[in-house]
């Protein structure tokens, strides 16, 4: 039941998105996220949708995988969309349903919200996890943040923690599944009762999980020491990051796209669109 977490999953490939420098992808993802929040109008949302579709095509990752990755946000996306649908007030009602009045603005708001959440998730996972290996990503973070080392921020340690966390997510998920099954076999009940009772039922799952996680951490630390790990000092990387012209072009494109999206709002207003 926890198996369908695709978060932090990497799909090896040779597409343009795969071959970009991870640092550039990280910055592009940030620009993209900002761009998503710069959209207020029909035109800019349409453009955002196009941009996201373009990214999907460029990544050559199957639509099925991408839709599966949306699963965790389905609930929150529909919820916010429905809220928008009923809450946004306009001038002329579209239709009235008992105590609920729906305005065209509400419909637009709901659609915009859906586009916003979906593109946010698709864009950032495409750029950061699906097409970027976790090592490259943490490496990129380490390099981008390396100026902070000057003020004694443990950047390398932070990046290593990220790598290990990503590595152990699937392992711990499987383990949680196993523990839940074991506790069910002993008669534990996770499905009934109110919120507090259910939360309480999770304690016998969390305790063994923590114990095992600490044991794993201990063993992993020894294994890493045995492999000559001694922090970031004097470490080289097999895949060093290279910035190529295509990387600069992509970065410029994203910056341009963000600015473009913003000005599409003005254009949209001028055309009397939403």
């Amino acid at each position: 039941m926890l198996k369908d977490i695709t978060l932090g999953q990497y799909f090896p490939g040779k597409s343009l998105l795969h071959t970009l420098d991870a640092r550039v992808k990280l910055v592009c993802a940030l620009v993209y996220i900002v761009a998503v929040f710069l959209c207020f109008s029909t035109l800019s949302y349409a453009a955002l949708l196009l941009l996201t579709l373009g990214l999907i095509l460029l990544s050559k990752i199957s639509v099925k995988v991408i839709l599966k990755g949306l699963k965790p946000v389905v609930f929150i996306a529909t919820f916010t969309a429905i809220i928008n649908l009923f809450w946004v007030q306009g001038t002329t009602p579209l239709f009235v349903l008992g105590p609920i009045t729906v305005y065209p603005e509400g419909v637009a708001g709901a659609i915009f919200m859906l586009i916003r959440i979906v593109s946010l998730v698709i864009g950032s996972t495409l750029l950061l996890t699906y097409t970027t290996s976790p090592m490259a990503l943490t490496d990129a973070m380490e390099r981008l943040l390396s100026p902070l080392k000057l003020i004694k921020v443990p950047v390398h340690e932070f990046a290593m923690m990220m790598t290990i966390a990503l590595r152990f997510v699937p392992t711990l998920v499987t383990e949680t599944d196993k523990i839940i099954c074991a506790q069910k076999a002993r008669g534990a009940d996770f499905e009934s009762g109110n919120l507090i009772q259910r939360a309480k039922a999770l304690i016998p799952v969390l305790i063994p999980l923590f114990v095992s996680a600490f044991r794993r951490a201990d063993e992993l630390a020894v294994a890493m020491e045995c492999r000559c790990y001694r922090g970031g000092e004097g470490r080289t990387r097999m895949k060093s990051l290279h910035t190529r012209p295509s990387d600069f072009a992509t970065l410029l494109f994203f910056l341009g796209a963000a600015v473009g999206l913003f000005f599409l709002n003005t254009l949209s207003n001028a055309l009397w669109l939403y």
Partner: protein
């Protein structure tokens, strides 16, 4: 005879504990292991096998006595890095040894720590993956692999550091018979092809029976040390400290208690492999006819 590669002298270790009495996890152990040899270490749970392994590469520092690896003492801090470069370790749980979510990047972890050139790391990683027969899995995530495959990746990760010796601490214990076979096969091939010194800590007697030398620990002390033939002929001693013997050795031991067989003078004692046992049984049965 090769020069000694690993030497321990009067090696003792006690884990720091709050309680008053001193409990030796290892006590007064003196060993000398030659380069290129295949040594199996046996002993029941808590006999100090893992403690010995961790002392060999400086994860633990001796309470008394010394450990010398290729002429380097494990006590000074500045030797540790070179020692760990020379002795690789493969542990029991393959899951808890892999650092990265991509196989090839995990294999690269060791060489990266050594500060090797990227191109050379690439070469070593490919070579190591090939050596364990996992070159097709280089882009996979460890959690999609079987236990035996994960363990082979762990071995590749150690190989990529090009050590002279690998210590396997019950590395087959969590695997099914097939996975165990995979790993043992890999270990033998590496030993023969690369001339690695192999120290194999195990609970499986038939894994130990094919080693050049078997060391038996009990309560932190050395009990037996010799060729598998010599060690496994001490059936009574092994039984007394709670260990099994290979079935062939047990059969021989039981046969030896039979006067008629003893008189026939056919059995010299010592472990024999299945073929030898078969030949011997045929001879015995032929004699009885």
């Amino acid at each position: 005879m090769n020069k000694p590669f690993l030497v321990t002298e009067h090696l003792s270790y006690t884990y720091p504990n709050e309680g008053g009495e001193v409990h030796y996890a290892l006590h007064d152990l003196s060993l000398s292991i030659e380069q290129g040899s295949f040594v199996a270490v046996l002993g029941h749970n808590g006999s100090g096998k893992s403690t010995l392994a961790k002392l060999l590469n400086g994860i633990l520092v001796p309470t008394a006595g010394t450990v010398m690896v290729n002429g380097l003492d494990t006590r000074p801090e500045e030797n540790i890095f070179d020692i760990r470069k020379t002795i690789g370790m493969v542990f029991q749980n393959p899951d808890n040894q892999l650092v990265s979510s991509i196989v090839e990047e995990d294999v690269a972890f060791g060489p990266e720590n050594l500060g090797i050139e990227p191109a050379e790391i690439r070469r070593r990683v490919d070579e190591a993956l090939k050596a364990v027969g996992m070159e097709d899995a280089k882009d996979r995530a460890p959690h999609t692999l079987s236990g035996g495959q994960k363990q082979r990746i762990a071995i590749a990760g150690v190989l990529a550091m090009q050590p002279k010796c690998i210590v396997f601490d019950e590395s087959t214990a969590m695997l099914d018979p097939r996975g165990r076979e995979e790993i043992m096969h890999t270990i033998h091939r590496l030993k023969n092809e690369l001339g690695l010194t192999v120290i194999l800590i195990t609970h499986y007697m038939n894994e130990a029976a094919v080693a050049d030398r078997v060391i038996v620990l009990n309560e932190g002390s050395l009990v037996l040390d010799g060729t598998p033939r010599e060690v496994f002929s001490e059936v009574e001693t092994l039984w007394k400290i709670g260990l099994d013997v290979p079935q062939t050795a047990e059969l021989l031991h039981l046969l030896n208690q039979n006067d008629a067989v003893l008189k026939s003078g056919l059995i010299k004692g010592g472990v024999l492999d299945e073929d030898e046992t078969l030949a011997l049984l045929e001879k015995l049965l032929g004699g009885a006819k």
